[in-house]
Structures are given as C-alpha cells and as structure tokens.
Amino acid sequence: MPGESVSEGRTLKKLRSPRELEELRKTIVKEREVQKPSISVCAGTGCNTLGSGSVINAFRAELEKQELTSKVDLLASGCHGFCERGALVVISPQNIFYQRVREKDVSEIVTKTLIEGQVVEHLLYPDPVTGKRIAHEHEVPFYAKQKRLLLENNSRINPESIEDYLYFGGYVALAKVTSGITPEAVIEEIKTSGLRGRGGGGFPTGRKWETTRHAKGDVKYVICNCDEGDPGAYMDRSLMESNPHSVLEGMIIGAYAIGAHEGYIYIRNEYPLAVKNAATAIKLAEEYGLLGDNILGSGFDFHVKISRGGGAFVCGESTALMASLEGKVGEPRAKYVHTSEKGLWDKPSNLNNVETWANVPLIINNGAKWFVGIGTEGSKGTKIFSLVGKVRNTGLVEVPMGITLREIIFDIGGGIPGNKEFKAVQTGGPSGGFIPEKLLDLKVDFDELTRVGSMMGSGAMIVMDENNCMVDMAKYFITFLLGESCGKCLPCREGLKQMHYLLTRITDGKGTMADIELAESLSSTMLDTSLCGLGYSAPNPVLTSLRYFRDEWLAHVEEKRCPAKVCKELITYNITEKCPNCGLCVKACPEKAITPQGKKKPVLLDQKKCIKCGSCYDVCKLNAVQVK
C-alpha cells in the first residue's frame, strides 16, 4: 500500500524511456506487495480546518507507542471530498470510514480497529434517514451515487509522493503518447472524446488544441488556469492540492500535442497548499525525467513554471490571466484575435482549466470511446461540483454529466438541514443564475444549464433555503462583481454601479416598479456591449432571480416586505410573550438594547437602539424572538 516510507532512500535516476518508467513502476508495486493495513487521514483544507493536522500527529504518536509504526502505513492524503464531516479517516483494506474524528479518538481507533479488528461505532457515519451507522466508505450515500474518476485517487495518494502516483498508473498516458502517437492523433483522440472546457465556457478542448497547433509561430505556450476566483467553488484547489501530477501529466500531453515547450500554472496565492504541492510535483517530475528536456527519451522538451495570482476574479478570464502573467494589470482585451493565435507575449497560447487537464490522462489511458460512454449527448464525462450552502452533506462531488439536480442535492447532498424548504440552487458563480424548485429534475450538463438561464461555470453549486432572500442574493453577486470589475469598459464599470444602486433601493424598501424595469433594460445593455465575460454575464443573477422569483421582488417593491426576512431595512425584531427572561439575548445584544423586566417576564427590546444584527434571534432557544 502507498505510504511515506517507500519514496525515501531511492537514488533518483532520470528515466530515459517508457520501458525504464515501467521497470520503476514494477519495482514500486513489488515493494508494496505485502499489503499493510493503512490509515488515510484527509489533509485537505477542509479537514485541516477541522483539526486533521493534530489527528495525524496523534496517529503517529499512538502507532509509535503501540509499536506499530513499521506494521501500519500512515498517509496524510489529499481531499476526500466530504468536508462537512471532517476530519475524515479511512482504514484499509476494510475501507472503514470514520468521520468527525478528533485527536481524542485516535487511541481508540488504533486499539479497537487496528489491533482488535472491530469498528468504533460512534465514529461511523449515521444515515440521516434511518440513523443506522454505516461502516464502509462506498456505502455512505454521499459517495455511493458519485462517479469519482478524477477524485478517486485523492484519498489514496500522498500528493507529495510521485511514487504514489506512479503506483496507481501515473504517467502511463504520457509514456503511451511520447512513444509513438503523433501529436495529430492525440488531438484527434481528444476531439473524439468530446471533452469540453471545465472552467466555465465549455469550449471543445480538442478544437482549441488544434487551432493552437496550427497557429503560426515556433514558440507556443500552454497554461493551466488554477485562479478559481469563483466564490463557492474549490474543485480546482482540491485537485491541485491532492493530485497535482494528474494535472501536470495532462499538461505535458497537451504541450506535446500542441507543440509547446513552455507552460505556466497560474494559481491564486490564496491557495498556499496548492502552490506548494504543484511546485513539489514539478520538481519531482523533472528529477524523474518526466518533465524538462528530452522527456522519457522522446526528444520532446517541456518546462513548467508556477505563477501566483493576486486575487482578482477577472484574472480567471483568459486574456486577463495572460496579461497578469506578463506582469501587467489583469485587464482583459477584446478577443477578435483569439489567444490560440496571439496570447501570452503575443504567441499562440492554449489555456485550459485544472479539471480539464486532469481529464486528459484518463482519456488517453481508457480511450475516447470509453469517455464518450459517460455523460449526455453534448457533454461527456464527469463534472466535479462543490455542493455547499444550505445542504446537509457539503463537500466536493463528482458525478456523470446528465445526473439531475435533485439527485445531487437530495440523494448525495441529503437535502436541506433543519426542516427548511428548498428554495433555489445557484450554479455558475457570479456569472451564473438561480434555478428554482420546479426545475430540480433538470439534467445537469453544459447546454441544459444554459437553457434555463444559468451556466455550468467552474462547478459551484450553492443551495439556498426559505431563509435566503432572492433579491438580496442578486444584490450579493452584483456587489461582488462591482468590486471585481477591472474598470476597462464602460458597460461593466458603470452598469454594475447603477445596478447596485437600483438593487440597494429595492432592498432598502425605496424601490419602485420603474427600478425593476430599469434593472431589466440595463441588463440587456450590459449583456450586449461589455468587453469580456465578466461584464456580459454579470446580469445573469439579476435576470434569473427576476425570472423565477418575481413575487419576492414585488413584495419588496409593492408591500415593502422581505418575505425571507433578510433585508434589514424591511424587518423588525420583537420579543414575544413566550420569553421567560433567561437572559441569553440580553448578554448577546451588542447595543444593550434589551433590558430584563423582572422574573419570568418577557424582556424588552428597544427598537430605537436595535441594529437588527439578529444576535438575539440566533441565541434564543425558545423561538421567543420574532422577525417581522
């Protein structure tokens, strides 16, 4: 089994042919023949936030204490995806799945499971419907309905070990390609597979590669977009942190097909672990001769550099990203000349997103025909979504294209927590739209999401319940985009400012029907005249909110009422007769607006002092605080 011990001690030797790579793989497989029990602890950002770092340390200490260090493999793995239940621990070979593991649980796991062979009942995942504890990872509903092709190895490999990746068939696709498939045939294979760009646009990858290959010029670039500025999406982060070699292998194959010898990985600086793991992967691949000059003895050279983004949403746009790579301000340019002909430093450049690159080795290994068998007519393969917001099982899910929203949100996601009603799901980030309940049976793919006014985007899926106000949500996205607009073109710069003004009037209870009409006509102007995708897709949240939740807008304008009780100017907090003067809200109120009125008498809330922060509502255990 994979572990940290194997990669140590081997003298590195550059691999000079596919045969040498195969020999090395055989050695690694042989070394791991004796299958030791293994503990895989998720060290992804989510689990790390929940303390997986100290869980790993505790395991290390406990194994030492019990004298098991040489008998059990301990793996700090990439992201397992079920972030809400972190820290996650999987014990192999039984595939026992422990969730919400804390430092204090470690000695029990080692003693009970590893020594005595029993499961620790209270750490197993309880089925939300039956309450029955589920012992194995593959039986947990969150995982059972997924098709984890890209994420599968996340929990099995140490992202810093190239040997772990090689053990699971890493760089086989690269060896296959460089040892006899022509670049044209590689492009043909990707075209046949129907792979479309996972960054949002959904442009056919093979066609992009072909245009760049045929573009004039000797110097060409391939770029990996790991900017992921889309709030609510983190699949690229997870792939880059957990399985960086899969992305790198895809890039090398792409560069070979396109005829590029230099590449860049553009990563947001907000993702320090992704930067670190990508850098390690590049270094190791170079040392093994899988990257650099004369890759696997094929005569093909390819070098990759990492560039760190400065936190600008617009830099996810290809031309803005390239400007930033040149050390300039991240402003987009008009694209009547395609980047595949004139991109970075005015040379032909091919940019793909992290998830797109990670799909490439899978297609080369399994064949385009296999890939075509997954998904829908126009969208092939799987897609990773970050399922977040008001949903029980939050995390990263990988599903075949064509699965319904209902299956994702209710079967995998386990529905809405707290007995609340589902209201909408937002896909595509700030450029996408809201999808209402009546469309939950929509089959998720590029074309269907666009048809209902939203888009695939990079894969954020944010679930909203009855307590979310759809006017407020539209305003949220406009506020976000207002801050992120680069300011180069007028429709986006001024349009967003005016749109924000209109929406603020409405959420403040000052709006009129004319404001709604103006927002609609402003939307169509921005859509038609903005320079780049940020501007022309910016009205989508407003338009879909109006299209599917018009009654909520009318309530704000005509009745000066916020049905979801979110918009501060339109609500008041009141203490009801139920209040027994427990004192919790008195303590919680930051403005000292609540005063006790004596034993068992309801407390008094001074409306003049109330800033509507909702602290009293949140702390009250008896539902004695009412929002009107």
């Binding site: 983190y234 600086n269 907000e270 993702y271 400065g310 790579l325 050390g327 301000v329």
Partner: protein
C-alpha cells in the same frame, strides 16, 4: 516595520533572485515582498521597478490593481472574513458585523495599536465549512456570532 535601505536592498535581491528576475513574475515578486515586509513600501516598489527595468507606473498599477496588496503597513494580526457565496448564504455578513464591532474597525483598516488589520476576502475555498474567519492564515470554520469574541481575544 522600519527597514534601512541596505537591508531592503539585500532582501529585495534575494526575492528577485528567487523569481529569476523575470518581469513575468512581477505579481509573485510583489507577493513575496509583501510577505517579507508586511506591505509594499515606496522604496520596495522603486527597487523592483529598477531591477526589473519595468516602469514605476506599471509596478504601481499592478500593486494597486490586485486586492491582495497593501501600500501601507498592516497590523500584527491579519483578520480575514470570507464573503464568498457559500459563506454569505450561511450568514457571513452577521459575522463580519460582529468582527467589525469587536475590533472597532472596518475592512481595510488597522486598529489603533496596529494589533489587528481587517479584510474581507471573496472565497478561500473552504466553502463546505462556511462561514469562515481566518486569523494569520489559520482557518476557523462554521463560525458563530458568539464565537467571534473568544477567537479574537486569543490574539489580544
């Protein structure tokens, strides 16, 4: 942090060298500079401009375009409140209001003793655990209003 000219030059030399004195690496160079000094001083920006042979206006343009950069010194502890969509639907605004009240400053400001700086961020990619507050790079997930004060008190 007061840095004398000689120290600055030698530190900048190291940062530039690490990035291959490549003008394509300008954003990375600015990031490393900010990580080293806590902010981008006029002297540091001038030095970068000179060494990379890039107009000062361009370095300044990039430094002010990206949100991550600060041209003024910041507090000892960096508090970031995530306002990404997943955090927003779970009440990040209320968390931000509470942090603002606790520290007595708005996003983009430092407190009086230069102990805290407050910023909002658009998404840190820990969406499953929103709302998120980050202090000095350490993430706290599933934040509650009443948990804000104890968290910040730990840094006072």
């Amino acid at each position: 942090m007061k840095v004398n000219q000689r120290q600055l030059k030698s530190k900048m030399k190291r940062i530039l060298g690490r990035n291959g004195s490549d003008r394509g690496m300008l954003v990375s160079i600015l990031q490393d500079t900010q990580a080293e000094f806590g902010y981008l001083s006029r002297e540091a920006i001038t030095e970068i401009s000179k060494q990379l042979d890039v107009p000062l206006s361009q370095v300044y343009g990039v430094a002010t375009f990206f949100k991550a950069f600060s041209l003024t010194p910041r507090g000892r502890h960096q508090v970031q409140v995530c306002l990404g969509t997943a955090c927003h639907v779970r009440g990040a605004e209320k968390i931000l209001d509470t942090v603002k009240r606790e520290l007595g400053i708005k996003p983009g400001e430092n407190d009086k003793g230069l102990n805290f700086s407050l910023e909002t961020v658009n998404c840190v990619g820990a969406c499953a655990l929103g709302p998120i507050v980050i202090v000095d790079g350490k993430y706290s997930g599933e934040m509650k209003i009443e948990a804000v004060k104890p968290l910040l008190d730990g840094y006072k």
